[in-house]
Symmetry: C2
Subunit: 293 residues, 2 copies
């Protein structure tokens, strides 16, 4: 099966690597050439010189890009994927975008006889490197069945959750749950430190009960150590929460804590923390305490 992967960023770079290692007939493309060169050197497949060449014979094109505008340009723009790849193929979009963008791209694809699956991922850079991502997909079930071998190269969980856009909506549910969860954890760590508790001992005691979470298991100790320079960046979380809050507004759904936590992420950005892990919400709480002294 001829597969093309476009977008060799933090996530896409190792995802494309898994496709190479699993023996797919692979082409790759990246807008910035130095990253493409680095990938080619590591995986011994020459990156295509142009997007048109990369997708010219591909049955499946997977992209992993940034925000709505990037995806629209690369897929539906002049000389983009939809105009250059063969009819009958499938485009998988692993970017986290709005659900409206997914529906717009699916409509553009259909005009050109191409199928579209929105397929945002979770699991972070570690999940991408280990090939243990989760894929939340939306689109036609029959089309989804065609792409499963590709997804299996880098994901351990993947499911088609409904029509196009459902993957993005499910990813939004994921990000909403995380926003409140991480802020609660940050407030707990902040309070415990202010109260003079031995927080490592406290975490040992409360860590298996009703307060337990993946975030507590994997982030509480780094938060206490003041380590935030890793993980899932605040800038990306804010991008995702922007889509969440737009979607909620359109549906007349109120998400009070999600909206508030989005503002706290804005504070972290103002502290030059945009590239820090989402657990850096603790810094916004600490900053408030600092500036009061």
């Amino acid at each position: 099966m001829k597969v093309c992967f476009i977008g060799l960023g933090t996530m896409g770079y190792p995802m494309a690597g898994h496709l190479q290692q699993k023996g797919f007939d692979l082409s790759v493309y990246n807008r910035s050439k130095d990253k493409a060169q680095q990938w080619s050197t590591q995986y011994q497949i020459a990156a295509s010189a142009t997007l048109a060449k990369a997708v010219a014979e591909a049955e499946i094109v997977a992209v992993c890009l940034g925000a709505d505008a990037d995806v629209r340009e690369v897929l539906a723009g002049e000389g983009g994927v939809f105009s250059a790849m063969p009819r009958g193929g499938v485009v998988i979009d692993h970017s986290t975008t709005s659900a409206a963008l997914a529906r717009e791209m699916a409509a553009c694809a259909q005009e050109r006889g191409i199928s579209f699956i929105d397929a945002p991922v979770s699991g972070g850079e570690a999940g991408a490197i280990n090939g243990r991502l989760t894929v939340m997909a939306g689109g036609d079930e029959t089309v989804f069945a065609r792409i499963e071998p590709v997804l299996a190269a880098y994901a351990t969980r993947y499911q088609c959750l409904g029509p196009v856009g459902s993957g993005q909506l499910a990813k939004m549910v994921n990000q909403i749950c995380i926003a409140g969860l991480v802020q609660g954890l940050a407030e707990g760590m902040h309070f415990g430190a202010a109260a003079g508790l031995n927080m490592n001992a406290v975490l040992d005691v409360i860590g298996a009960g009703a307060a337990q979470s993946w975030q507590m298991d994997n982030r509480a100790k780094t938060m206490l150590a003041g380590e935030f320079d890793f993980g899932f960046a605040v800038d990306w979380m804010r991008k995702d929460l922007g889509y969440v809050l737009d979607e909620a507004r359109q549906r007349k759904v109120s998400l009070p804590v999600t909206a508030l936590v989005d503002q706290f992420y804005g504070q972290v950005q103002n502290l030059d923390g945009g590239q820090l892990d989402t657990s850096s919400l603790l810094l916004a709480l600490q900053q408030g305490a600092e500036s009061r002294r």
Copy 2:
């Protein structure tokens, strides 16, 4: 070892039962007599007629009561535990109270030659029944060592986390983490339902990743089913959050989401939901949506 247990409520009833089953030389007392009679019938130990008789020979007195005022009355009030039990003994307070109350009780106890350990629990009614509670304790380490056999009768995790009050402060960390976490989960469930997603399928996909939590594992499906008539009551959570927010105010610590979620629990109380599980935050979100239509 002669042990007395006072307070046969939802938690205390099965906790005292474990002490009977483990063969402690046990006396029990409860202010309301019908509950005491029920316990006596089930466990074949006559409840003491008065508090004074219950504690008269006890080396260790464990109490599990309600709010600060209840604990103050039963322990330090006229004819209370401190005045009636032998010198040299230990009082374990399993109630969730303010940290100031714990320090106040420890001082009263010390005047009468009695030791005091604050020891709030988590794990809920199910944990109490299964003997799998978690105990967060504060007090003297040597005293704590004396009471460990008692704690082991109904708890699988118990640790002394620092001086008197540390147990209550650690419990506060636990409740802070839960408040933000459950609200995030409720907003996620509310959004997903409004977006028309098959939420059981979404939970299967996202339930092992960065959004995972004990609350998601144990409450998401009951939330989707609209089942709230079980678990840890909103009235108790609000009591606990009241102590949290008072303590934070005294320490000049800002807990924005905890304070907001406390207000949402107030909304659930206004919906006559005070006895519902804490996951009923979803009802406050849905109520807002309902009244808009």
